[in-house]
C-alpha cells in the first residue's frame, strides 16, 4: 500500500550501502520477512481483482485484506483485527487515482470488559503525468488523508476519547527520459496527531538492549544498540504493527524516525535520481527542509535539514577492467535545530558516510570492503510518550561520538542465489564526553546463502 497507510519502512543507516553490509542485512530481512516491497508479513485473508473497461475508465484494481493483529487473552485484551484495502482507478496512461483505507479494530465481544481501540486511516492518492516534450514527462504525485484513533471505555484517565488529524503530500515530478533522470519537488504536512500504525511502526525497537553482549565493562554497564547490532540483526525487531509510536534513536534519524508518515512534520523536499549512466549508476541526491507543525514542550518548532547523496561508481569502466570493480558511495547529513532559551535550544548534527568496494578479482570471486562512519554531535530532546501516544516528558540527549563499522571479506557466487561469504567486521564507538563508555566488537562470519 502507500507510505501513509501500510508500509514497512527501511531501518536507519542505509544510504547506498556497500555490498559487504547489504549481504548481512539481506539475511536479516529475509529472516524477519521484511520484503523488498516494504510490505508487512501478516496472517489472514486477502483478495484482489481488477476490472477493465472499454470506455471512460481504463481499469479498476481492488485489493483487500483482513488480518489478526492480536489474539485475545480472554480477560483484558480483546481480539484485535487489522484490515483494509485499496481501490485504484486508472483513467488512462497518464492519470490514476486511488482510495486507501486501513483500520485497526477490536472485537469487544471477545472479553467481558467493553474496552475498544480503533484506528482508521483513509487516504486518496493521485498520479498525473503528461508528456510535455518528446523526452520530458511532467506530472503531479500526491496523497492526502486523515487518521482517527478512538479509545472506548478505557479506565485509564489518560486515554483520550479520540485523536484525529490529517496529512497531505504533493509533489511535482519531472522525468527527463533521455537522461534517465527523475526529479521530484514536493511539499508535505503531516499533522502532529496523525496516527497510522501500519506506516509508522519501526523495524527496530531502540529502547531494548541488543541480543548479544548486553552488558559491558566490569561494572556491567548496559550496552545500548549500536549500528553493528542493526546490521547483524542483533536487535529486537518488530513482527507486527505497533499501535504506539515506538522509541527511536535520534542520533541516527530525527527527521523521519517513523518514515514518510512521521507525525508533526511539514516542509519541502526535492529528490533527484539518475537511474543509469555508463559509469555511474543509481545516483541520487535528496534534500529536505522540514519543521514541526506543532511545537513540543515549547511554542518554538524544531527545524530539520537532511541532505542525502549516493552513487555506484563502476571503476572498471574508468580503468578498462573487464571484471566489475564497483565503488558504492553514500552520505547522509542531518541537522536538527531549535532556537529559543537555553533550555529550548537544540542543535544536533548527524553525518553518515556509507562506502564500499566490491571487486571481482577472479571468476565469481569478489573482494568486499565497506565502512559505515557515523559522526554525531549536539543535543536534542526526544519525546517520551505513554501508551496513548501522548507526550508525557522529554529525554535530554547530548551526543558527541563517532561510531565506525568496517568490514571486509570474500564472496564466492555459485550463482545469483547461491553464495558463500567469509567476512570480518569490526566496530568501535568513541565518545568524547566522559560519561559514556568507549568500546568495540569484532566479528568473523562465514555466511552461506541459498535463496529459493
Amino acid at each position: 500500500m502507500t507510505p501513509y497507510t501500510l508500509f514497512n519502512n527501511l531501518e536507519e543507516g542505509v544510504i547506498n550501502e556497500a555490498d559487504v553490509f547489504a549481504l548481512r542485512r539481506e539475511i536479516v530481512h529475509y529472516d524477519m520477512f521484511y520484503n523488498q516491497d516494504n510490505s508487512w508479513r501478516m496472517q489472514g485473508a486477502k483478495m484482489n481483482f481488477g476490472l477493465e473497461f472499454a470506455n471512460g475508465i481504463e481499469a479498476i484494481d481492488v485489493k483487500g485484506f483482513i488480518t489478526r493483529q492480536r489474539p485475545t487473552d480472554g480477560i483484558t485484551e480483546p481480539e484485535r483485527l487489522y484490515g483494509g484495502g485499496t481501490l485504484t482507478i486508472k483513467q488512462n496512461e497518464n492519470l490514476s487515482f486511488g482510495f486507501n483505507s486501513v483500520n485497526i479494530f477490536d472485537l469487544n465481544e471477545t472479553i467481558q470488559d467493553s474496552i475498544q481501540y480503533k484506528n482508521n486511516v483513509h487516504t486518496f492518492n493521485l498520479l498525473y503525468t503528461k508528456q510535455m516534450k518528446e523526452n520530458i514527462k511532467m506530472g503531479l504525485k500526491s496523497e492526502a488523508g486523515m487518521s482517527g484513533a478512538k479509545y472506548i471505555n478505557y479506565k485509564d484517565t489518560r486515554a483520550p476519547e479520540s485523536i484525529n488529524d490529517y496529512f497531505y503530500d504533493v509533489a511535482l515530478i519531472a522525468n527527463l527520459e533521455d537522461k534517465n533522470i527523475t526529479l521530484e519537488l514536493g511539499y508535505k504536512d503531516v499533522g502532529a496527531e496523525f496516527l497510522s500504525p501500519g506506516a509508522q511502526t519501526k523495524r527496530i525497537n531502540y529502547s531494548k538492549f541488543p541480543g548479544l553482549y548486553q552488558q559491558i565493562t566490569n561494572q556491567a554497564t548496559g550496552r545500548p544498540i549500536s549500528y553493528s547490532d542493526v546490521i547483524s540483526g542483533n536487535t529486537e525487531n518488530s513482527f507486527r504493527i505497533s499501535e504506539e509510536l515506538m522509541p527511536y534513536y535520534s542520533a541516527y534519524n530525527n527527521m523521519n524516525p517513523y518514515g514518510v508518515a512521521t507525525p508533526n512534520r511539514r516542509g519541502i523536499y526535492i529528490n533527484g535520481k539518475r537511474t543509469d549512466s555508463l559509469k555511474f549508476k543509481n545516483s541520487f541526491v535528496n534534500a529536505a527542509l522540514m519543521t514541526q507543525s506543532k511545537g513540543t514542550g515549547t511554542n518554538l518548532k524544531k527545524r530539520f535539514i537532511v541532505l542525502e547523496a549516493g552513487t555506484d561508481v563502476y571503476l572498471n569502466d574508468f580503468i578498462g577492467l573487464k571484471k566489475q570493480l564497483k565503488l558504492d558511495l553514500g552520505i547522509r547529513y542531518e541537522n536538527t535545530s531549535r532556537s529559543g532559551e537555553v533550555y529550548e535550544k537544540v542543535n544536533l548534527n548527524s553525518t553518515l558516510i556509507d562506502a564500499g568496494v566490491s571487486w571481482e578479482f577472479a571468476e565469481k570471486l569478489d573482494l568486499l570492503v565497506g565502512a559505515k562512519l557515523w559522526v554525531v554531535k549536539g543535543n536534542t530532546y526526544v519525546n517520551l510518550r505513554n501508551q496513548f501516544n501522548a507526550i508525557e516528558n522529554f529525554d535530554i540527549l547530548d551526543y558527541n561520538f563517532s561510531e565506525n563499522t568496517y568490514a571486509s571479506g570474500l564472496r564466492y557466487r555459485f550463482n545469483d542465489k547461491n553464495t558463500l561469504t567469509a567476512q570480518y567486521q569490526f566496530f568501535d564507538i568513541k565518545h568524547k564526553n566522559t560519561t559514556s563508555v568507549n568500546y568495540g566488537i569484532s566479528q568473523f562470519t562465514f555466511l552461506y546463502s541459498l535463496t529459493f
Binding site: L140, V170, G295, G297
Partner: protein, 333 residues
C-alpha cells in the same frame, strides 16, 4: 479529464490550508521541566494578623518563573499545630493558597504566632522564605460541636473513674488538641482494663443532630500517652438513643451502639467515622441492640467515652478532646 484533474487538485489545495498552531504545543512545558527557577513576583501574605472567626481565610500571592512544586508550611508557635499547602502552579494566588486557619491534623491552631516557611523542593539552590503571622481568632468549625471541654463539665454529665484513676478536664498546659482544655485520664489499674469514662449528655433533650446518619460523621481527638502499643489500649464509645422520646435511655428496649477505636499511634489521633456505620461490627455484620437497630442521630441523648488499657502494663494515661459531628465529610482540624 481536465475537469477531474482540477477537482482533485482543488481537494488537495483545500487540505493544504492547515491553520498555523503557534499557541499550543504538545507535552509538558520545557520551561517547567528544565527552565531556570526564579521568583518573578515576591511571595506575600495578604495579612499578617488573622482573625479566622471574621476573615475566614488568608492567602498568599506571588509569581514564579515556572510551574514547579512549592510547599507552604505553617506551624503554631505554642501548639505545634501544622498546616501544609502545596501546589505546582506558576502563579500563587487565592485560588491555590487559601488557608482557613485549620491544621492538617490535631492539634489545631490556637491564638498564637504561626511560623511560615515556603520552599521549592524540586529546585536545587532555591531560597527558603520565612514569615510569621499572628492568629487572633480561631477558625469556626462547621458541624455540631458536642464539647471541646472549654466550658467545664456539663450539668448532666456523669463520670466513672477507678479508685486509682484521676479523670478530669485540664486547661492551659498547651496539650489540648483544640483550644485550651481537654479531658485527661491517668492512673494504674492492675485489676481491670477499665480506666475511666465520661458520659456526655446535653442540657437539652437531645444534641440537636440531624435525622440522617448516612452523611453524619462523629469525630474526636484521642491521645494515648502511657500504656501504649498495639492491642494495649482503646477507646469505647457508647451512643445511647432515646427511641421513645421519653427523655431517658432504657438499655432493655432502646439502642446502645458501641464502637471501639484501638491504639494506632502516639500523638493526637483523629477518630472519624460515619455514624451510620456504628450499626455494623468490624466484619460488617449488624450488631445486636435492644431497640430498632437503626442509628438515629436525632435521638442521641448520651455519648459515653470509655478509656480502657492493659491492666498488666502499669500506669495508663490518655487525653481526649473535641467531640464534634460533621456532615458529609470527616472533621478537619
Amino acid at each position: 479529464m481536465k475537469k477531474t484533474t482540477l477537482i482533485l487538485i482543488s481537494v488537495l489545495l483545500i487540505f493544504s490550508c492547515r491553520k498555523e498552531d503557534s499557541e499550543n504545543f504538545d507535552g509538558p512545558d520545557l520551561n517547567d521541566l528544565f527552565g531556570p527557577f526564579s521568583i518573578v513576583q515576591d511571595i506575600e501574605i495578604n495579612k499578617n494578623i488573622a482573625d479566622f472567626t471574621v476573615d475566614n481565610t488568608l492567602h498568599f500571592t506571588g509569581e514564579l518563573s515556572k510551574n514547579t512544586q512549592w510547599n507552604i508550611s505553617i506551624t503554631g508557635a505554642i501548639t505545634g499545630a501544622t498546616r501544609s499547602i502545596t501546589g505546582s502552579e506558576r502563579v500563587i494566588s487565592v485560588d491555590n493558597s487559601a488557608w482557613d486557619g485549620g491544621a492538617n491534623s490535631f492539634p489545631g491552631f490556637g491564638l498564637e504566632t504561626a511560623y511560615i516557611e515556603i520552599s521549592f523542593p524540586k529546585e536545587d539552590g532555591s531560597p527558603i522564605l520565612y514569615d510569621t503571622i499572628t492568629i487572633t481568632g480561631n477558625k469556626v468549625d462547621a458541624g455540631y460541636l458536642i464539647t471541646s471541654f472549654e466550658n467545664g463539665e456539663g450539668t448532666n454529665w456523669s463520670k466513672f473513674n477507678q479508685t486509682t484513676v484521676a479523670g478530669a478536664i485540664t486547661c492551659g498546659d498547651g496539650n489540648a488538641a483544640k483550644g485550651n482544655c481537654y479531658y485527661s485520664f491517668t492512673g494504674s489499674v492492675p485489676w481491670d482494663w477499665a480506666i475511666g469514662s465520661v458520659m456526655i449528655q446535653p442540657t437539652t433533650p437531645t444534641f440537636g443532630l440531624p435525622a440522617s446518619a448516612s452523611n453524619l460523621y462523629f469525630n474526636m481527638g484521642f491521645k494515648p500517652i502511657e500504656n501504649i502499643g498495639d492491642g494495649n489500649t482503646f477507646i469505647q464509645f457508647w451512643f445511647d438513643e432515646d427511641e421513645n422520646g421519653d427523655g431517658t435511655f432504657d438499655l432493655a428496649t432502646e439502642d446502645r451502639f458501641i464502637y471501639e477505636y484501638w491504639y494506632q499511634d502516639t500523638g493526637w489521633n483523629l477518630i472519624s467515622y460515619k455514624y451510620s456505620d456504628i450499626q455494623f461490627d468490624t466484619d460488617g455484620n449488624q450488631v445486636s441492640t435492644n431497640g430498632n437497630g437503626l442509628p438515629e442521630p436525632a435521638k442521641l441523648i448520651s455519648i459515653n467515652v470509655f478509656y480502657l488499657a492493659n491492666k498488666d502494663n502499669g500506669n495508663a494515661k490518655a487525653y481526649i478532646d473535641h467531640l464534634i459531628f460533621t456532615t458529609n465529610k470527616p472533621y478537619t482540624p
